[in-house]
């Protein structure tokens, strides 16, 4: 094919996006790394170069360990539910039954609604004299301080993340289920396999790439969780529900401790980078091939 454009034309098309990406992605990326080597704590107007001191401070800080542990628990607790529940629901919904559209709308609703509203709604369910504790009472379980007990708060927040994510991952599974060859199911029916065997032998192998994708997406978003915590617990009580993004936010915008916040950001960057690279190498998407 002959060229129908001048040499500089491609760059003109790229320019506007490049300006935004450089200004708001690449420069901040490198600035985060640079800031992490400076101390802003003593004098915010004259930061001093301290090489790795911020990282050492973080690694010596029990709160930061708590934060890392909480982030890890978030990941371990939320991801399995977000991988398995939506899959089961997608399989149930992917049948010739009545009311599919209504089911899909209702189950997808939490995804659409603002996470702030969702967090407020759950805060109300979780109230000391709230409806959830009433349900507990019906089963003769003493009331739980869902958001006030340091042993419960983190899990209460995780539940909101899971609840809000189910519809989203269900839709990903549903579009993958459309790609499973129908004749394989028919072969199963001819063989008289029961529904569970059918899904274990046909659906599951076909969905492995999607299951991997959902695992990766939900893991990375678990690392980035913030709003639920901000609205419901502010990381408390006793840092029990504080995860890494909330910690960065608090250090940067409440304590103006830019160096420490940046060092924690670099740690977050490294974790997410490793996860993303795993994602790309394991579940390479044709969209991202040149």
């Amino acid at each position: 094919m002959y060229k129908y454009y001048k040499k500089y034309v491609p760059y003109l098309f790229l320019l506007p996006a490049a300006v935004i990406l450089v200004l708001f992605f690449f420069i901040p990326f490198f600035e985060t790394i640079i800031l992490s080597f400076f101390d802003y704590n003593s004098n915010i107007y004259h930061p001093a170069f301290v090489s790795l001191d911020n990282y050492i401070t973080l690694l010596k800080s029990p709160v930061f360990y708590k934060v890392l542990l909480n982030t890890f628990i978030y990941l371990i607790a939320a991801v399995p539910f977000l991988v398995v529940f939506p899959l089961i629901i997608a399989i149930l919904i992917n049948q010739k039954i009545r009311g599919i559209t209504l089911y899909k709308i209702l189950i997808y609703l939490p995804v659409i609604v603002s996470i702030v509203v969702a967090a407020i709604a759950f805060k109300w369910l979780y109230a000391q004299q709230g409806i959830l504790n009433y349900v507990m009472d019906l089963f003769h379980i003493p009331p739980v301080g869902w958001l006030t007990d340091p042993n419960a708060a983190l899990y209460s927040v995780i539940l909101v993340t899971v609840w809000k994510g189910i519809g989203y991952y269900m839709m990903i599974y549903l579009s993958a289920l459309m790609g499973v060859p129908k004749d394989l199911y028919e072969a199963c029916d001819v063989d008289g396999a029961n529904p569970i065997t059918k899904h274990l032998t046909v659906t599951l192998p076909h969905l492995m790439p999607t299951i991997g994708l959902v695992t990766m997406i939900s893991s990375i978003s678990a690392m980035k969780v913030f709003v639920e915590i901000y609205v419901m617990t502010k990381g408390g009580p006793l840092d029990s529900s504080k995860t890494i993004v909330y910690y960065i936010y608090e250090r940067a915008f409440e304590n103006l401790d830019l160096g420490i916040a940046s060092a924690a950001s670099v740690i977050l960057l490294v974790i997410v980078l490793v996860m993303s690279i795993l994602n790309f190498t394991l579940f390479e998407n044709k969209q991202y091939q040149l």
Binding site: M1, L21, I105, L106, I131, M171, L268, L269, Y288
Partner: protein
Amino acid sequence: MKNFKSISRGFFIHASLITVSLLSIFPFIWLMSTAMKGPDENIFQYPPVFFPEQPTWANFKGVWHQIPFMLYFLNSMVVAGFTVVLNLILSALAAYPLARMEFAGKKTVFYATLATIMIPFQAIMLPVYLIVLKLNMVDSVNSVMGYLGLILPFAVNAFGIFLMRQAFLAIPKEMEEAAFVDGCSVFQIWWKVLLPMVKPTLAVLAIFTFIGSWGEFLWPSIVLTQKALYTLPVGVNDLQGMFSANWRFIAAGSIIATIPILVFFIAMQRYFISGENDGAVKG
């Protein structure tokens, strides 16, 4: 026997899906129930009362008079609207050479764009904030600058660029050649030939960008200093501080703030739930 089996199976499926559906909407229903309870009802009553005994709209009216919802709504519209328009234009512009042209540095541009997918905004938000401050794009300067600070950092992203690139790749090259022979400039080819052919992808990108921008909370809560530019999520969070113990008002305000996106969702539902959005999976 066969018939009995299929009936019981259908029953099991519907029972499960009804349970999941109810769990999905129950928090909102309970919020609605609380918002409609009258002043003489005890909202902490044991056992909880589901249907308000003296149903009333008074809480909605009350919170409406104290919170400038229309202002927050308009702010959200401005921010989400411009974010969508910029994302469509910038993604489609950048995607064209990446899909169709040969130029020096193409690989570098491609992989640099790909790399941004791996950078979570939460990890770089502090320098982004410092840059926005340096550029004076904050609401303490004036509201136009405030809007710019809310919009520009999200004006384009790698997902949009790759989504549009995929769409362009699917168009036969002959279309462009024919247009060129007819005397179209390269910009005209992009605007008059290619863009009309990727309208469905543009629609998907628009809808998902809109939802993302509409729900964004972290960034506006960092940059905004004045209530005049609050978007709906920031305004809703603010309800908690304003009516600390008045759950009737907090609930009513949350419901009011949810109506616009609910209407949008119902109107656009086929884009969300019919499986047409295969390419729009975002991380």
